[in-house]
Amino acid sequence: MSEGIKVSEAGVDVSRAADFQLALSTEWPTLKIVKEGTIDVNADGSNSITITSHGLGYAPVFMILDNGVAFTETGPGTSEFDGTPNFHSTKDNLIYNPSVATHYRGYYFIFDYDLGKVFAAPSDHATPQNSTTVSIGMKAAGRSKNIESTDGRDYTVNTDYRPWTVHLSGTTQATSDGFRLDHNLGYVPGALLFSVDSDGNLTPLQARATANAVSITFRGVQAPLTGTVAYVVLKDPIFIGA
């Protein structure tokens, strides 16, 4: 047995908590945010724009939130996930390269997570436990943040919050149409995909997933899914609430 630490979320017995009910476990990683910030750029539809440099030396996992001005047209004051291929990460930068002229406003997260390394976590407990009134907890504030803050944004771990944690990650080849991963979690987990180009750059990829308690298969949506694909399978189930 390896040494490690597990901390369950508020009200859940740590010895019986499902993996995804842990606020902290050293057995599997979270997507650590290495850089985040707003995007407000004018793209001409021809030239790429560097949103930011990250200095990680590999193309990292990233997430873009559209603040209501691009394809979704929900308007200012809103936000939603943007999985379009207009963004990609390189070993140095986060790049925006739309095919049409756009004034883009959004928010980005760059995670210190290298999909070039295969990772597979154990599956310890799959069944979630009901919350009790136990109020023992733990929290750690981020740099220069007040440990007495009531703002969840100030904490890097807090038992009142559940982090997204990684169950499987890596890179694989999709052949003919798609690929399958065995997760053995006992439920259907969420997942993120990226296409990988010959330079190792990552671009968000939409896929059709079919899954059960032990495996998940990804296929193309409107065209066959082929080529090199990077994946993150989350511990979190997609059909159980928090």
Binding site: G11, S25, G77, Y155, V157
Partner: protein
């Protein structure tokens, strides 16, 4: 009181002082995406929906209205980060080519049949998360769209405490 003390914990089998930052089991200097638990309504949960009839098409060019399927209050007072997965339970009576029991990350664009673009998605503002169905900025009234009647799906949403704008 704020301090710059911190905690580093190595991953199993690793030494904390020989681990690269992304190899650490925990680093109190690094934030991550986090969902607040124990909230009502939950900040991560599943919404189920069945189109009992086909939503009306926007009647004018440029109409950006949409059909709100569910509204989930978060009341953060700021626009939070968010994410969603859509699981198709049954396709529409129009023979929609997104098979049952498959899932996708949001937004889900309905495959084109008559040139129009329609999709299921979510968005958040500083009070709520909304699950919605939309005809994309209709710019040609001659386009046709899939009849959504009979289409049912589950939508798993996440409202993170992290900022989303």
């Amino acid at each position: 009181m704020s301090r710059d003390n911190g905690i580093l914990i190595a991953a199993p089998g690793k030494k904390v002082d020989r681990s690269a930052p992304n190899e650490l089991g925990f680093d109190s200097d690094k934030h991550t995406l986090m969902v607040k638990v124990g909230q009502e309504p939950p900040h991560a949960d599943t919404v189920s929906y069945l189109f009992q009839s086909n939503p009306a098409l926007p009647g004018t060019i440029g109409d950006t209205s949409q059909t709100i399927i569910a509204t989930i209050a978060h009341n953060y007072g700021y626009i939070p980060a968010s994410f969603g997965f859509i699981s198709v339970k049954s396709p529409s009576t129009d023979g929609l080519s997104v098979p049952a029991d498959s899932y996708y990350r949001s937004p889900l664009f309905i495959p084109l049949t008559g040139g129009g673009t329609q999709y299921i998605h979510y968005f958040v503002d500083n009070k709520n998360l909304y699950v919605a169905y939309r005809i994309q900025n209709r710019d040609d009234l001659s386009l046709t769209y899939v009849d959504m009647t009979g289409f049912s799906f589950d939508f798993k949403y996440y409202i993170f405490a992290n900022p989303g704008a």
